[in-house]
């Protein structure tokens, strides 16, 4: 499959801050790629480099078959961008702003614009100064979603939307995926990435620390198990791969590494299991594992 985005060893510094520190990111055609990381990890910086708005200090970035800095204008014909924090012009209406972006981009589906305004419940006749944060965000989203481009770069695009609009957004992204278009979706809304992404790259301090399909990532991580047993399950604590065993209202709750699930279940059986619930790791936990260990006490950190 063709790569739509590739970066190799991308470095970008702002004074003494290393916002990107050897970023290796690859996004293939037709996928929704989740770009996850905490605040300040470098997601926006990476996207701005891909847009040719910032110039990397070193490393290589390819967008389609071009260089994001040198071929910015040509590449922008094939993509649309939505930032997390949209500002509009106070004395222009939302509709005017959408049309401006459309004219500046070229390809645009007029009926789709109107349909999207309806779906997102946006009144395009209001002036920019009267829009709430969420409504300004909708303007940028509608403009991007109505443009018939191959790639969408979305930087925390639903930061100001309510859950209802979030659901509409997810539907729209699924439509786009069906149409075979590519999406890079940066987010810290983990549920959103879980619901939409085919593959995920996790960024931390300017580096990709993990990349793969959600299934692959889960395999690397811990399952949370809650059991109610006839006998005390305290002994499980000594098993390899078991972490954070705690007793709560007569139930035991612990995490177990993906590779040790089998052993653990065998050890549980003789204790007289009355009920058992197993949770796959949430992306929160994935992130916790990567970012929680900064304080190098993962067990106490994740035991919240």
């Amino acid at each position: 499959m063709a790569h739509v985005i590739t970066t190799e060893g991308l470095v970008k510094t702002f004074g003494s801050t290393r916002a990107l520190d050897g970023l290796e990111l690859s996004v293939t055609e037709g996928e929704v790629h989740g770009f996850l990381g905490p605040n300040g990890a470098g997601k926006s910086t990476a996207i701005r480099v891909l847009l040719g708005l910032l110039r990397a200090d070193s490393g290589r970035a390819r967008l389609f078959d071009g260089d994001p800095w040198a071929d910015a204008v040509t590449l922008h014909r094939r993509l649309a961008y939505v930032p997390g924090d949209v500002e509009l012009w106070p004395n222009l209406t939302g509709g005017e702003a959408i049309d401006l972006f459309a004219r500046l981009r070229g390809r645009f589906d007029r009926t789709r614009r109107d349909e999207l305004c309806e779906r997102f419940d946006l009144d395009p006749t209001k002036k920019g100064r009267t829009y709430s944060k969420g409504n300004r965000q909708k303007v940028a989203l509608i403009s991007a979603l109505a443009s018939e481009v191959e790639l969408l770069l979305l930087d925390e695009p639903t930061a100001g939307l309510d859950p209802l609009m979030e659901a509409v957004f997810q539907e729209c992204i699924r439509d786009i995926k069906e149409a075979g278009r590519t999406v890079l979706l940066s987010s810290h809304v983990l549920a959103q990435v879980e619901a939409l992404a085919d593959r995920v790259s996790i960024i931390r301090q300017g580096r990709i620390v993990e990349s793969g399909s959600l299934a692959e990532l889960r395999h690397l991580h811990r399952i949370t198990i809650t059991v109610e047993t006839a006998e005390s399950a305290h002994a499980l604590e000594r098993l390899a791969g078991v972490h954070d065993l705690r007793e709560l209202d007569g139930q035991f709750r612990f995490e177990v590494e993906g590779d040790h699930v089998d052993d653990t279940v065998r050890a549980l059986a003789p204790l007289g299991v009355r009920s058992i619930v197993a949770h796959p790791p949430t992306l929160e936990q994935l992130l916790m594992r990567h970012y929680g260990d900064e304080t190098d006490a993962p067990s106490s950190d994740s035991a919240r």
Binding site: L53, D67, A70, L100
Partner: protein, 545 residues
């Protein structure tokens, strides 16, 4: 490494400018109110002068006595080289007596236009939304400059038509004047193009360009004062070139070549600097600030001081430098005054002309102090509309406390700025005359004007509370004071018109001694207006955009 490839070697010219046409149309739409307002305002200024002057000086004879005042060193310091004042006519009086102020308005219009469409767009992130489309790297700046050129040409047409069509001035001179105005405007668009690359903050970018404008004013003030027609020093100022065309006198075009060369070079430099930086970045790097808030920052007063101090220091420094220069002109004036006709005394209403000059300078600085006060209140309005005031007011800080502490800080700021400026002016005068009494005299003269500045501040707060969208209206008091205070006495305006300006009331120190009554009255008016403003502010909705 592609990241190091130079943009020009890999990006074609047409790509760099992609989208310019659409952007220009969009900018025209955005400025659909501002453009006609500014250019129409300049046209109205011409019409007003054409109508008002004959009613003040009906005959050539009366006009001659009025222009005589302008032709003197202090007059030239304020208005320019004074071409054609030996044989005055209405058209000469308008073009050579008021041309400098037309030029300053045009310069401000261009500085604000360029900063508004470049740096402000980057700071808000709107430039990013634009640039993520099929828009070349140089397109937004180029579109802005095209808009600036269009605006200046419209201004030239409006002013030219007003001069020829309404005022009935000679065509050749009107044409030189109108084109000179546009050329000066574009030159300052060039200055702003450069300063917009230097700072990340629109206000700092506009402030730097404003400082260049101030310096240009001072440089030509020194040059024009020294001799009729200006001296070599005058020619160093971008404000001087249009004046050196001497409309209706010499009608020469070639000085405008300097404006054009200056505009082209600054615009080229601006583009060069812009191409060397990232979107949103600046050439003056932002330094990391304090790790923790100091204890003082935790109080409303501490925060108010912190947020206002940049503006305060900027104005204080600019006024002090101006004062130093004006003070240092004292000596040259003393020489020039010796052979002046008696009519000159009218300007300052004083026998001791040097004292009269210094008293006028204290008033002049008070106009600028008033300008500072308005900007301080406008930035409070900015805190409100940007939503930055909201979390503060959600914390246990009352609205009255928030506004009152800020008001107190500005009030003290006015006193400090006027005191420092007075000391600097005095110091400048002492440097050239050796008379040390100038220092206390001028400190007193400037402090004497403080209550007048407070009135401006009070009314600005009144507007902030009662008519928040009209806060900028407080500029009218400053502009009115400046025009009436500078030109009123010469134009024989009725006393009532002069006295509408708060700046007209304090005694003219050091010519006169301080009078307490007007100062107390002005202070009472200021306090009253501020109090109403505070109460109204508590009662109205907070507005955010």
């Amino acid at each position: 490494m592609p990241a190091d490839a130079s943009p020009s070697s890999t990006t074609s010219r047409s790509d760099r400018l992609a989208g310019v046409g659409t952007l220009v149309r969009f900018l025209l739409r955005r400025d659909r109110i501002k453009l006609p307002a500014w250019t129409g305002g300049l046209g109205l200024f011409v019409v007003y002068l054409a109508v008002a002057l004959p009613s003040v000086a009906a005959t050539e004879e009366e006009l001659r006595s009025a222009t005589q005042l302008f032709a003197d060193p202090v007059g030239r310091l304020l208005i320019g080289p004074g071409y054609g004042f030996d044989e005055p006519s209405f058209e000469r009086f308008v073009a050579n007596g008021y041309g400098l102020y037309f030029a300053i308005i045009a310069a401000l219009m261009n500085i604000l236009l360029v900063v508004r469409h470049t740096r402000l767009e980057e700071q808000t992130g709107r430039a990013e939304l634009i640039r993520a489309n099929v828009v070349g790297r140089a397109a937004p700046l180029t579109a802005t400059l095209i808009l600036a050129v269009i605006t200046n040409l419209v201004a030239a047409v409006v002013v030219g038509v007003a001069m020829v069509g309404i005022a009935g001035f000679a065509t050749a001179g009107s044409l030189v004047f109108a084109v000179g105005l546009a050329a000066t405007g574009i030159a300052f668009a060039g200055v702003a193009t450069v300063t917009a690359q230097l700072s990340q903050y629109p206000r700092a970018a506009a402030g730097m360009a404003g400082a260049v404008l101030g310096a240009a004013f001072l440089v030509r003030a020194g040059g024009d004062m020294a001799a009729e027609g200006g001296t070599a020093l005058s020619w160093l100022s971008p404000l001087a070139w249009a004046q050196q065309t001497a409309p209706f006198v010499l009608d020469r075009w070639w000085p405008l070549a300097l404006s054009i060369v200056f505009a082209v070079s600054t615009i080229a430099l601006g583009h060069l600097l812009a191409a060397r930086r990232d979107l949103g970045a600046s050439l003056v790097a932002t330094r990391p600030g304090a790790h923790e808030a100091s204890a003082r920052l935790g109080t409303p007063v501490g925060l108010a001081v912190r947020l206002q101090r940049g503006n305060m220091i900027g104005w204080g420094a600019a006024l002090a430098i101006g004062g130093l220069a004006f003070g240092a002109y004292t000596d040259a004036l003393t020489d020039a005054f010796l052979d002046l006709p008696g009519a000159f005394t009218e300007l300052f209403g004083a026998d001791d002309l040097v004292d009269g000059y210094l008293a006028y300078m204290a008033t002049f600085m008070a106009f600028l102090g008033g300008a500072y006060a308005v900007t301080a209140v406008q930035s409070l309005r900015g805190e409100e509309t940007s939503g930055r005031a909201e979390p503060l007011l959600a914390a246990p800080v009352g609205r009255i406390t928030w506004l009152a502490t800020n008001l107190v800080v500005t009030t003290v700021g006015v006193v400090s700025i006027m005191a420092v400026t007075g000391l600097a002016t005095g110091f400048g005068a002492v440097l050239v005359t050796g008379d040390t009494h100038h220092i206390p005299d001028l400190a007193l003269a400037h402090l004497n004007q403080v209550p007048a500045v407070w009135v401006v501040l009070g009314i600005a707060v009144l507007l902030l509370g009662a008519l928040p969208r009209a806060v900028a209206g407080a500029w009218i008091i400053v502009a009115y004071g400046l025009v009436v205070g500078t030109f009123g006495p010469m134009l024989d305006l009725p006393e009532a018109v002069l006295e509408l300006s708060p700046f007209a009331h304090p005694a003219e120190v050091p010519t006169e001694t301080v009078r307490a009554l007007p100062l107390l009255t002005l202070s009472a008016i200021a306090v009253g207006a501020a109090a109403i403003g505070l109460l109204a502010f508590r009662r109205r909705d907070l507005e955010t955009t």
